[in-house]
């Protein structure tokens, strides 16, 4: 029985098990760590707001047909074009008579897809460059970090623009273009984390047990780097969403008739003065979602700062 549980008013039951300062198993320790992080996050109202927004995005994207009908998002009804907000059309209709609410709902799928695809490209790429750089050092480090610095020195949107211009418009190319400009910070981060842990005693113990470099990297260093990578990713999400929306606004993202928030703002521009909702509502969706990621990321960063 640990000291914490003897305190008056200390948590008992499953909470006590989670908060036990002397966990009996690796499983319990890991769950306890997650639970403590959750308790810290729960105290931060803004971060919780962010979490709710992000979860709502995921939920709406996954279950879009429950929230709006697919037909009203795609069917053109020219007699209904540019209708103001009403019970039938909560956000009005666009220049082709499609329901803006339904298009915003289905547009969340595009946003979530871009964010997810960029994450699964950028994180492994950053780790693949940063881990060997930090672990082996020497000329490998010098070469890899020089390459990283070169990419870091590029303006993201402009480079994405040039890539998109050469590859042609489309959501896949937008994802490639964003990924190519988004990985360098992860390489830097992975390298820094690796440098922190490389000389640790448990790494030396693993070396003495005959573990290969690859094994040490993947079973020891990658898990230790993950928390800071995830925080960085959450904070980056807003930037990724804004870049994707910017590309969409310029006509380089998802192509019509696919609902994409940036492209929706762009096509509503010409009706801005008379039918303001066509351009502003999808922009509001971009804003709310990227704010959600920023709030959550900010809260997560505070959490990791106070622990460290």
């Amino acid at each position: 029985m640990s000291a914490t549980n003897l305190r008056i008013g200390a948590a008992t039951g499953w909470r006590g098990w989670l908060l036990d300062s002397a966990p009996a198993s690796r499983h319990q320790a890991r769950l306890g760590r997650w639970y403590r992080a959750w308790l810290g996050l729960r105290r931060n109202g803004l971060a919780m707001t962010g979490l709710v927004i992000v979860l709502a995005l995921v939920f709406v994207a996954l279950f879009a047909p429950l929230f709006a009908s697919h037909a009203s998002a795609f069917t053109q009804t020219l007699t209904d074009r540019l209708q103001p907000m009403s019970w039938a059309h909560p956000f009005g209709t666009d220049e082709l008579g499609r329901d803006i609410y339904a298009r915003v709902v289905f547009g969340s799928r595009t946003t979530l897809a871009i964010v997810a695809l960029v994450s699964i490209i950028v994180v492994p790429l950053g780790l693949a460059i940063g881990l060997p750089a930090g672990y082996f050092g020497g000329w490998i480090d010098a070469v890899l970090m020089r390459v990283t610095d070169i990419f870091l020195a590029f303006p993201r949107l402009v480079l994405a623009l040039a890539f998109a211009a050469a590859l042609g418009p489309g959501i896949e190319n937008a994802v490639i273009a964003i990924s190519l400009t988004a990985w360098p910070p992860y390489a830097r981060l992975a390298r820094a984390e690796t440098l922190t842990w490389r000389r640790a005693e448990f790494i030396e113990a693993a070396v003495l047990q005959g573990a290969s470099h690859l094994r040490i990297l993947f079973t020891q260093i990658v898990p230790l780097s993950m928390p800071s990578v995830i925080i960085r990713l959450t904070l980056d999400m807003a930037g990724i969403i804004l870049t994707a929306a910017g590309l969409g606004f310029l006509g380089l993202g998802a192509q019509p008739p696919a609902p994409e928030w940036g492209a929706m703002v762009s096509s509503g521009r010409q009706y801005l003065l008379d039918q303001w909702w066509v351009a502003t509502i999808p922009g509001l969706a971009i804003f709310v979602v990227s704010l959600g990621f920023n709030l959550l990321g900010d809260g997560l960063r505070d959490l990791s700062d106070s622990r460290g």
């Binding site: 803004l46 070169i150 949107l157 402009v158 623009l161 211009a165 050469a166 804003f287 704010l291």
Partner: protein, 362 residues
């Protein structure tokens, strides 16, 4: 305290004359900096070369069009050296870029570099005014947030900054136009000037606000300010968010120092301690932040210019993009990339010049 006790410590006073080791260290750092700038520049050109020559499936076809005869095709293929080995092609490309030859724009039929000299001042003007707005608001807000750490002003400023980080600049531009131009009529609409004021001022710098002052045309200046204030404020708000945040964290570092306590104990008013002494110690770091912000402003300009029909680099690139004018797009990418490299270099050079601590760090 005895004199010997003080002498035993390493002297914090810098020698008034340069030592051989000092010169060697400066030369070493300079060499490193030059090398890193050259490498980054090579990397930049390598990427633009790759985008322009390797990604398009047939760069010759992209130039001649699919209705061209075999002879034309062969002629152009030989001209751009498409059959040469890639390293040779890259070398030729690099030489052309170094001679300022970015190719000819398809839309304007002018050399890309010549177009750049026309559109770049407009972007510079926008970015500079935006930077002024961002710095003049961001620094004081950061200081206020730091001195009120954890209290409501800090929270409000932090939330305001997060809002700034989260807004799509093109959307904010449209909302701004809708409110301040269409509904309230406080500012002038898209473009740099009203049509009536076009071509009055002789271009010297290409920045209308400066040129109009030089020519004594204050009506034009007033009109230009009415046009630039909204796009510049919107761009400036986004950079303000970053500048305020960095100022806050630098100031927190200073306010923890003992000299702050000491000056307070001696009876110096808190206002002076914060705004003169503590802020005086962070401005070097702030210069770096502002320089880097400028780079992101150039980028934000691409979208802002599209919304405000601002005839700058961003609008030029956007229009080129839709006419498959790859030379112009890559030329713009190179110019912005070079400005980025230059700004990074500048902050690397300025930093040790004004901060001895950074100079002595190895």
């Amino acid at each position: 305290m005895s004199a010997s006790g003080a002498a035993a410590r390493p002297s914090p006073v810098r020698r008034p004359y340069p030592t051989a080791a000092g010169i060697a260290s400066v030369a070493h750092r300079l060499a490193r900096l030059v090398l890193s700038v050259i490498l980054t520049f090579l990397g930049l050109t390598l990427v633009t070369f790759f985008i322009g020559r390797v990604i398009p499936i047939d760069p010759v076809l992209a130039i001649v069009g699919d209705k061209a005869s075999k002879e034309t095709y062969a002629k152009v293929a030989a001209e751009i050296g498409i059959n040469l080995p890639l390293p040779v092609q890259y070398w030729r490309y690099l030489m052309r870029v170094l001679h300022g030859d970015f190719g000819v724009s398809i839309i304007t039929a002018h050399p890309v570099l010549q177009d750049m000299t026309h559109v770049f001042p407009a972007t510079m003007e926008l970015a500079v005014v935006a930077l002024l707005v961002g710095t003049l608001l961001g620094v004081p807000l950061g200081v206020v947030a730091a001195t009120n750490r954890g209290r409501w002003p800090d929270q409000v400023i932090r939330f305001g900054s997060l809002l700034g980080y989260s807004m799509p600049v093109f959307w904010l531009g449209l909302v701004g136009l809708l409110m301040f131009y269409a509904k309230l009529g406080w500012v002038d609409g898209p473009g740099r000037l009203d049509v009536a004021f076009d071509d009055i001022v002789t271009p010297v710098t290409g920045m209308i606000t400066i040129d109009s002052v030089l020519g004594g045309e204050y009506d034009v200046l007033w009109n230009a300010l009415g046009h630039i204030i909204l796009p510049a404020s919107i761009l400036g708000y986004l950079s303000m968010a970053y500048i305020a945040r960095m100022t806050r964290s630098f100031m927190l570092g200073q306010l923890r120092q003992e000299y702050v306590l000491a000056t307070r104990a001696k009876g110096m008013p808190p206002f002076r301690v914060v705004w003169v002494h503590a802020l005086g110690n962070v401005w070097v770091q702030l210069v770096t932040v502002v320089a880097l912000t400028f780079g992101s402003l150039l980028e934000g300009a691409v979208l802002t210019e599209t919304v405000f029909a601002w005839p700058g680099l961003g609008l030029y690139m956007k229009n080129s993009l839709f006419n498959a004018d790859l030379n112009a797009v890559l030329g713009g990418t190179l110019v912005i990339g070079i400005v980025y490299i230059f700004l990074n270099m500048l902050s690397d050079v300025i930093y040790p010049l004004v901060d001895p601590r950074a100079r002595d760090r190895r």
